[in-house]
């Protein structure tokens, strides 16, 4: 396992070494691959780039995009951009919270769903919008959420 991590990080570092300001891009690649930024990888990265671990964590925790815990199997993103907010985005979040018993930023106990509150999915014409994995649902009504969720796995 440890060896695998070293090789992975080494490849990334080699790829980006010659470029200045590479830390965020390397973190993007790690998260793309794992879905979050595991601590072991950050440790390894800190040694290879010769930057303190604190500096890596300061960057990870500053940006909303980076996650420190593994995401659920399905990612639910409920849009809270202005258009969606006006058209009841908060109601959708409350309903998902009620059904799955998780707060935004949390994963269900069975690891099935991760709930995220996002700022704008860029399809304001369809407000209110939610997205599960890659599938976008537009003009969502509160009553439809159970159905939508059940299409993507169990809701127990």
């Amino acid at each position: 396992m440890e060896q695998k991590i070293s090789i992975e990080i080494k490849n990334l570092v080699d790829k980006w070494k010659s470029k200045e300001g590479n830390l965020i891009m390397i973190l993007h690649e790690i998260q793309n691959h794992h879905g979050y930024v595991p601590r072991e990888l950050s440790l390894e990265l800190s040694q290879m780039l010769d930057v303190p671990l604190a500096r890596i964590y300061e960057v990870i925790t500053f940006y909303n995009f980076f996650k420190l815990t593994p995401p659920g199997k399905h990612k639910i993103a409920v849009c809270m951009g202005t258009a969606c907010y006006l058209k009841g985005g908060q109601d959708l979040i409350n309903e998902v919270k009620n059904i799955l018993h998780i707060e935004p930023g949390q994963t269900t106990k069975d690891g099935q769903y991760y709930l995220d509150m996002v700022r704008c999915l860029g399809c304001c014409g369809l407000a209110p919008v939610m997205m599960i994995d890659e599938k976008v649902y537009g003009k969502v009504k509160k009553s439809e959420i159970m159905d939508i969720l059940s299409k993507h796995g169990s809701t127990d």
Partner: protein, 579 residues
Amino acid sequence: MFKKTILLKDTSFSPEDKTRDVFTRCLDYLREKQLEQDIQVVRVADSGVYGQGLVMKVLPDATLYVNLKDEDVTRVIDAAAQNKTIEGLALKKAPKQIRIVLRNCGKIDPESLEEYIATGGYVGLKKALLELTPDKVIEEMKKAGLRGRGGAGYPTWMKWKFARQVVADQKFVICNADEGDPGAYMDRSVLEGDPHSVIEGLIIAAYAVGASKGYFYIRAEYPLAVERIQKAIDQANAAGLLGKNILGSAFSLDLEIRLGAGAFVCGEETALIASIEGRRGTPRPRPPYPSVKGLWDKPTVINNVETLSNVSFILLKGSEQFASIGTEKSKGTKVFAVTGKVKNSGLVEVPMGITLREIVYDIGGGTISGKAVKAVQTGGPSGGVIPVDALDTQVDYENLQKLGSIMGSGGMIVMDEEDCMVDIAKFYLGFCVDESCGKCAPCRIGGYQMLEVLKRVANGQAKLEDMTVLRRISQAMQKASLCGLGQTAANPVLSTMKYFESEYKQHIENKKCPAGKCSALSNYAIIQEKCKRCSLCQKNCPVEAIPGSREDGFTIVQEKCIKCGRCLEVCKFKAVSKT
């Protein structure tokens, strides 16, 4: 090239998307009539029209057909082939729109360099590199009167000139594509629909300031935009439009993508620079401005996506044509994402100087519900709310600022009578509090304190003096914050208090929310005459605030009620009232 292109999309909200079926039928019909060489039908992901059934748009005339029945499809193709329009079926064109930034979006294949070149692409770059000196290019921008489209409206030529004047061994250009304003997606559409126009603009900017390296700073949340820009950069490199000695000139430029990671403050120039350098995206005091000391302390010019798309247009068509559009101080067009309670939501590109009323009513079609428009919000979290009686204002940088809002990047949210202004202010301020980087105290502490006061107003626990508190904190934030985020965060609060003061007072003095949005101030009650005693409300009440039985009827105990609204939702007989 095809004589006509027909864009096709099923925009209805039913789960069955008919686009594919209709598309196949169109292909069959074209083959049958031997029109395959003249007309192409393209399935599009987003037609800019929503909830209007089957939509076909004929290009280049831009005739739009909506709510088409199955039999209409072949008629549209016939009409297009004969260069006709089916009167009665075609929607009236919106002549108020002029397309400069969106000139190619939806018309060309964004992944094809050849198609971009066929529209006159990279001709402007060639002209700049081979015929004009960098100073002449800056002169062209000055004559065109182009101002930055990212929000503040700083003249583009001045930015370039400052960076040009500084002597340095290396300079940088950056395209700011970190569109983070909730409710706005103009840049995304351009990046995805016409990536080369932005790249061309960035190369021209680099030539004008003498930069040898450029970056695209794009939101990681826009994977398709990232993919298309990368592809376009590769194509441009292969075609000699990027890299060493571009088009045989002495000018060289390398372009690279850097991803944003979800921080609104990174739209601020100095924060964006910190992020590209691989650090936390916190701003620093200015001066020195990035034009003098920017990325890695080198002179840097940062332009927004829409600005750069305008740049390539100006070089292609000339500054006179660009300057002929718009008002005296604001030239050209502006793309707005018109959303909210408006009937036709979508992107519009309008000449500067158009009135808000024309955008909301003539193009947007008024509100969905038919209710009166209450206000229009522009500029996102940094902007303000414009009341309905100011709708005849002409849109330009100065006018919007006078009203207490800003042009911003182009979000335009239409609100009707059901929207509470206190709630809106709370929403935007909450956004800024979330996104505050925490570096300077006025923004970090001021924003939080204001939000606490607003929450009290919305809950009916505020005093009238709190309005003064809000004003005083606003002032401190505007004057003392380090960057644009903090300086403008109070705008939504100030503008709603200015135009809708009585609404605030109603919340504070009468404990009422006129729009019925602030749930803590609403009361639910059962209308006994309508109640059929089905007990559904009782079963659904999460706090057992509805005692009673099917024989004796039900009532809501106000002291227990948490105003969740479930009883209202589940009642099939409309027997629950909300006041």
